[in-house]
Each structure stands twice: as C-alpha cells, then as structure tokens.
C-alpha cells in the first residue's frame, strides 16, 4: 500500500528508483531513492550486502526481527532516522536520502546518504582581494556553514535553520554569535523569515527583498558577499548573516551606507595606506554620481565659476556641438551604461569586438564627427572609472541611478538644482534604517567609537581600545 502511494507520488519521475528485495526470511524490503543524488556505494556495502547475504546484523543483543532493528535504528550509517508520515518520507527522498520500507511496518527508515556533484571552493571572482583568504562560498549550504565554522571556533556561533519556499524547500541558515548579536535584530529577522511566502528561493536575493524595511529605497539595506572571511568578520562585528542553499551569496545585516564603500582589503593592508585608499574611494564615489551634474551646472549655468583659461578651452571644444550640454551628457551616459550592460551579457569571445566598437565608434569617431565634444567624453569616462572604485557591485547601482536624477535636475535648475538633489538624497539617507541601525550611522547620529572605522581605519588595537603592552600591567 505504501509502495502504491509512493509510485503514485513519483509518477512520471524517471530519476526515482524503487527497488524491492525479498530477504531470506521472506520479508519484503523496498528501497526508494533518487538516482544521481545518493551515494549508493555505501548503501550497497552497509545495508544490502549484510541483509542479503548474512541475515540480520547481530550486535551485543540478538535481534529477532527486522522490525526491531528498525526500531533501534541499527544501520551501520551515521545519519539515520525514522519517519512516520509518508509526506515526510517523500520530502526526504527528494532531498537525496534513501528510504527503506519494510512490508508490514508502519514507519520507514531514512538513511542520509546524499551524494551529488558540487562545485569546488574557488576564489570569489567578484570580490577578489589582493591579500587574504582565497576561499569563496559555494552552492552547497553545508560546505558554506563549515567555511564559517572553521573560522570561528566557538560554541557561541549559532546556526538556526529555516525552510523557505513552497516548492524549492530551500534551507536558509541564520548565523549569529550568541551574546554579540543584537537580540532585537535577531527576533526581527526570525519573525520576518517566518512570514516569507515564496514559491521558490532561487537566490538569496529573493529573501533579501522580503527582509528589507524600506523596499522602495534605492539603497540596499542588506549586504551580500561571497566571502566567508567577510561573513566571519561581520559576525564578530555584532552583525547577523543568512546563508541560503543553492547560492554562494550570503546576506549580512544590518548594514550602513559606508559598508558598501569598504573593501575587505581595507583590513588586510597597513592602516596608513588604507586611509589614502578610502579617501580616494570616497571622493571617487562622489565623482561617480555628481560629476556629470556639476559639469552641466557649471558650464551652462555658471560659466563664470570655471577658471578663465579652462572655460575658454571648454568653449573651444564645444564650439561645433549640435546638442545642448545636458542632452550630450545624457546621451554619452546612456551609451556608457549600454556598453556596460552589453559587457555583462557578452560571451567572452566577443569581448574585444565590443571594446573596439566602444573605443573607436564612441570615443574617436563621435568626437571627430563633431557629435560629442571631448570634455564630455572625459567627464563620462571619469565618472565610469570612479564608479568602479566602489568595491561592491550592488553598491554602485544606486549611484548609477542617482547620476541620472542629478543630471536632469542640474540641467534644469543649475547648481541650485544640484544642491536640492543633494539635500533630498541626504534627507532620504537619514530617514531609512537597516534593522534598527540608522543608515548613515556612525556619522548621523554621531558615534565616536564606531567612527574609528569609517574615514580613517585606526589600527585594530586602537579601534578596540586595547593597549599593545598588555591590558593588565603586572
């Protein structure tokens, strides 16, 4: 009867294998498993061989029947449990376990012998650093949890498991340091995880959108990373991480505006050089969203503010331009973003083709034809370069959007418009918060302790308020 149910459940599933045996004492045994997701070698060695050839295994006590053996979960495997309901059984089989059913027995034995092909641990491509660990997360959540566990060897590292997704049944693990992580954040995350109604979780981005407080804000309130060392560092900074099965991207929360502008390398290099690097990065970030707007505002609304000789050379270059400056900058920005988007989707073999088209057609031919002027090419390419100094790709996206908004408002109202744009952006930034942490946090509201890791990265021992000579003088 159970077999009939299973056969009906797994109707039209060619990869489900139901194999029945008749043992020496005439008991009927049914093995159910998914082909390709179980490591059958161990099953054959440890279950089938003894049962078929030697009869019931004999331990310290004598075992009378197969039923008793099942009750005691006596199988030479580490991960064994009993399932009472058929739904649970189906679920476990789908996850790659081996189901063993015995005729006349109410429960089924589950042996977790999953084994399937996975990707190896490689260096994360998007977040590569010059120094530091070369390990990156993979798609398998157990590998990922082990990568974190290996970095924090402490019983306070907790990993709570949740299953999300009606069809995908994706395992999501909430990782935190008990005692360090904020309880309020934890309960908020737990509550929100419980409320998620999704058909499927393909990537951690699916949960990210359910967790965010201000969904319509252009600034992301959750950080994602492929690097287990970043996760470990964030856990120690009292943050909380979420690992999702099937994706190498872990989520970290709460975050601030600045965490998008900080790179793992900041902590691996000597702090003196990091100060310079961060300064460059912050200035470049400003350039990446403000330069086109500033250029338009200055050259068309306030030409008296540009130094005389520079203004004359700009005017010389723009003498034959057919479009107004705003339109020209907009066109170039649009083309630049188009090139960037094309570059993401382009097969590797076609890469050189695009760079030739981009450099020749847009860079040279357009200037020579007099359609665009050289200062604008400089402005746009500087903006583009500046946006790549932001270490995380997802942190560049809001600035890319803002760039257009600022351009339009500056083309409309000049510097007044630009100032309004900045004011509105700041108003927005101070209103949003990420899981209780204000988004501009160490600066507004000001926090003297955490600011030590903001513009200037203090050496670790100063940041943590320690003394190099030992905190307890003897």
């Amino acid at each position: 009867m159970n077999e009939a149910y299973l056969r009906q459940q797994f109707h039209n599933s060619s990869d489900v294998i139901l194999r029945s045996f008749i043992l020496r004492d005439e008991t009927l045994l049914l093995l159910v498993y998914l082909d390709g997701m179980t490591r059958l070698q161990s099953v054959e060695d440890n279950i089938l061989k003894p049962l078929i050839f030697s009869g019931l295994p004999q331990g310290i006590d004598r075992i009378q029947s197969l039923a008793e053996m099942f009750r005691r979960e006596w199988l030479p495997l580490t991960n064994v449990k009993t399932d009472e309901s058929l739904e649970d059984l189906v679920n476990h089989i789908l996850q790659g376990s081996l189901g063993i059913l015995v005729d006349g027995e109410a429960s089924a034995l589950i042996a977790q012998v999953q084994g399937f092909e996975t990707r190896g641990i490689i260096e994360p491509q998007k977040e590569s650093t010059l120094r530091g660990s070369k390990e990156g997360f993979v798609e398998n959540i157990r590998t990922n949890t082990s990568l974190v566990r290996r970095r924090i060897i402490h019983p306070d590292l907790k990993m709570e498991s949740y299953t999300i997704g009606k069809y995908t049944q994706t395992e999501v693990v909430l990782v935190y340091m008990q005692g360090l992580a904020d309880e309020k954040v934890l309960s908020e995350v737990r509550e929100k995880l419980g409320k998620i109604e999704l058909n499927g979780v393909i990537d951690s981005a699916y949960i990210e959108e359910w967790l965010e407080n201000s969904s319509f804000s252009i600034f992301s309130q959750i950080q994602n990373t492929e690097r287990p060392d970043i996760v470990a560092a964030c856990l120690l900074e009292r943050k909380v991480a979420l690992l999702t099965n099937g994706t190498p991207f872990a989520l970290i929360l709460p975050v601030t505006f600045w965490s998008g502008l900080q790179s793992a390398d900041d902590y691996f290099e000597r702090f003196v050089f990091v100060i310079l690097n961060r300064l460059i990065r912050y200035v470049m970030t400003f350039i990446s969203f403000a330069l086109p707007a500033i250029y338009v505002a200055l050259s068309t609304f306030h030409p008296e503010m540009i130094p005389s000789y520079l203004m004359i050379s700009i005017a010389t270059a723009r003498e034959n331009s057919p479009f107004p400056t705003v339109i020209e900058v907009f066109l170039m920005m649009f083309i630049f973003d188009g090139l960037q988007e094309a570059g993401v989707h382009l097969p590797n073999q076609l890469g050189p083709v695009m760079s030739i088209i981009g450099a020749l057609v847009i860079g040279q031919a357009a200037v020579e034809a007099g359609i665009v002027s050289t200062p604008i090419i400089i402005v746009i390419s500087l903006t583009g370069i500046a946006s790549y100094t932001i270490p995380r790709y997802s942190a560049t996206l809001p600035f890319r959007l803002i760039r257009y908004l600022f351009l339009f408002i500056a083309g409309w109202l000049g510097f007044v418009g630009f100032a309004f744009g900045i004011i509105f952006m700041l108003i927005h930034l101070v209103t949003i918060e990420s899981f209780g942490t204000p988004y501009l946090s160490p600066i507004a509201p000001f926090d003297g302790k955490r600011i030590k890791d903001m513009i200037i990265r203090y050496p670790f021992w100063i940041r943590d308020g320690r003394n190099k000579k030992g905190s307890r003088p003897r």
């Binding site: 030409p303 008296e304 005389s308 203004m311 005017a315 723009r318 003498e319 034959n320």
Partner: protein, 385 residues
C-alpha cells in the same frame, strides 16, 4: 514613501514656477570677453571696447591660419559702461560674458579728462564682474589700440599683459584691490602703466608690444598725480607692501664694477612716533638678497666683504627709496598706506586729520630704513680673472 515622492514633486513644481529656465546658456552661445578698454570720447561719453575670443580660431592647432586673429575687438560709445556694453551686445551674435575678463585697460587721456571713480561704480556694483582683472593705464595711444595688438607669443594681447605683470611680481593690481584702496581713507592707489613700443622680433617683423613702463600714482579722486618710472615704481610697490620680488643693480663704491641682486620675500613695516601733534614715520623695508652678478674685484667668500656688501646694499637702497618717497610725498597721494597705519594707531588723532589727507601727508616726516639680508653670494667666490 509615496507621500515623500508627492511632496518632492510639488516642491519641484514650485521651484520651477519661481525661477525661469532662461538661465541656461550653452558655451557656444557666449562671447567671452577677455580684455576691456575704456577710452575718452567727445561730448563727455566714453568708448568701451571689448576683446572677445573667437573659440573656433583657437581650436585650430598648428597655427596654419596665421593671418586670422583669434579675437575680435568690438567697441561702442555710451554715457556709461553699461550703455556702451549694451550697444556692443546689439552687434554680437552671442551673449557677452564679462566675468572672465583678465585686464581692464584705461587710456591716459580718459584718466585726465574724466572722473574715473564713477567708472568703477559699475565694476563693483554689478556682481557679474569677477574683480580679478588687472587695471592698467595705457600711456600714449588709446586703450582700444592696445586691445587690437597682436602679441608674438600669446594669442590674446590682454592675456599677454596679465601674464607679463604676474611674471614680473606685480600680482596685486586687480580691480578688487583698486576698489578696496579707493574705499579706504588712508591709502591711495597705484596703477601699472603700459606703453606700446615697437620691437624688432625677427628679421622680417617689427611688432608693437605693450610693455610695463612705470607706475601711476593716483589721488583720492583717482586722478593721476604723477608717473614713476620702472625703478621708482618697483620701489614704491615694495614700500606699499604689494611687491613680491624685484631685481636691483648697484654700482660699487669707487665705480669699479657693479653688483646685481635678486631681492625676494619683500616686506615692509611701518613704525610711528608721536611728537607733540605731528607724527614721525619710520618705514622699514625687508628683503632677502641673492647676489647674482659681480663685476667688482671683491671676493665674496670673504666674510668681511660679505658684511661690507650687505651694509652697502642697505645704504644704497635706503637712499634710493628715500628719493622715491620724497617724490611721492611732493605729489601728495599716500600710496603706502601710512594713513591706514596712523588710523589704527591713533584713531582720535586720525579723525581730525583724515579730511584732505593728501595735503597733510606732504608734511609728514617719513624716514625709510632698509633691512636687507644677504642670503647668498652665488656659486663662485672671487670674479674670474
């Protein structure tokens, strides 16, 4: 969130309705005025000329279009600067942008026949003037002619004049400085004087070039009271605290050879001593001297000679500057700011003296002292034999 978007939309619409979008001007709709000139015209009006850049001429590299000028001079007559500018604007296809003006040339004739202080009202009142432009007095010819000159090195004569002054250490002669001096009671203005002279610059060409030929001393009403030549002028600039560096050549005591110095870190200090109701002023000038040319038989590695030279230089410069000081004092205008110093030090005394200060300045006893430090005597010791 939606409320916020709505609010910002309303806000934007309000801003838009309150401003006009006509502020928007493309660079190729602008005429960049690089130099300005003021000339006297008959019937009491003035002639304003603007040197305007032609950007398309500047862009042609290599100078293949050698004949065509990279600028155009437009001029018009009017009752004041604004009216004349409007008349120039009518002739132009682009909007005049005067904020980038580098020089403002005024002819000597205009200085003599008109009240220049009225001219500067427009310049200081209109916020579209950057006040960084250098005010020049053109001696001899008209200021308009000066604008039309073609400089052999620079594309624009007014930029050339600006650079010429800057490179020779005369940085503080902007219209801003002139207005500041004009508005303060205890200091009078100095204006650099340019004169157009012909120079043979190559085998074929003889180019007229405007060169610095002295400094004009202006009185309270911005009338020219006298002209100092280059040497006296640079001394006066030093004593008024506006100089940065200068060169000095002094013949040695017995007429055997000469000594040349470069003086840097030019400074001056005013001390005043009260004696009954009249004041005695000691003006100390300070500088660091670098010996660059020595045709005397002196061995400069010798410490005694060094002391001797330093002492001599101080004496000579003191004498020279005292002459300049006396000359200016005869004319009257206090270009050194001694009145300002007295104003600060004896405010109550100043109140009774500030009216007609130019006349009273003539009777003030001013002593010039030099405090020059010989920094270096150059790379060699005794002159080559």
């Amino acid at each position: 969130m939606i409320r916020g978007i709505l609010l910002s939309c309303v806000f934007l619409i309000l801003i838009l309705s309150s401003t006009s979008c006509a502020d928007f001007v493309e660079p190729n709709q602008l005429a960049f005025v690089i130099g300005g000139a003021i000339d006297h015209a008959e019937d009491g009006s003035i002639e304003v000329s603007y040197q305007i850049v032609i950007p398309s001429q500047l862009s042609s590299k290599g100078g293949s279009s050698g004949d065509s000028d990279s600028f155009v001079v437009m001029s018009a007559k009017g009752k004041d600067v604004f009216e004349a500018s409007e008349k120039i604007q009518i002739k132009m296809s682009r909007r005049l942008l005067t904020s980038h003006r580098v020089t403002m040339a005024i002819s000597e004739e205009y200085f003599n026949k008109n009240d220049v202080s009225k001219l500067f009202d427009k310049l200081s009142r209109d916020p579209a003037n950057n006040l960084r432009d250098i005010v020049l007095l053109i001696k001899g010819g008209s200021a308009k002619e000066f604008l039309m000159l073609k400089h052999p090195m620079e594309r624009l004569s007014s930029i050339a004049a600006g650079k010429e002054l800057q490179i020779n250490g005369l940085r503080k002669f902007t219209s801003r400085q002139l207005i500041v001096d004009y508005l303060s009671e205890g200091i009078r203005s100095l204006v650099p004087v340019l004169q157009v002279k012909n120079f043979k610059t190559s085998r074929k060409n003889t180019n007229p070039i405007a060169v610095l030929s002295g400094i004009a001393v202006l009185n309270k009403k911005l009338k020219v009271k006298g002209l100092l030549n280059e040497d006296e002028g640079s001394g006066a600039i030093w004593m008024s605290g506006k100089g940065t560096f200068k060169g000095v050549t002094i013949p040695w005591k017995n007429g055997k050879g000469i000594l040349s110095f470069r003086l840097t870190h030019l400074q001056r200090r005013i001390n005043s001593y009260s004696r009954n109701d009249s004041k005695r002023i000691v003006l100390t000038v300070k500088a660091q001297a670098y010996l660059l040319d020595n045709t005397t038989p002196l061995d400069t590695t010798d410490v005694d000679n060094k002391i001797e030279i330093q002492k001599y230089v101080n004496e000579q410069i003191q004498k020279e500057l005292q002459l300049t000081m006396d000359k200016v004092q005869q004319w009257g205008p206090d270009v050194f700011g001694i009145g300002e110093h007295l104003h600060r030090k004896y405010p109550y005394w100043w109140k009774s003296q500030k009216d007609d200060w130019d006349e009273k300045f003539k009777n003030i006893e001013v002593t010039v002292k030099a405090d020059i430090l010989l920094r270096s005597t150059g790379a060699t010791g005794a002159p080559l034999k």
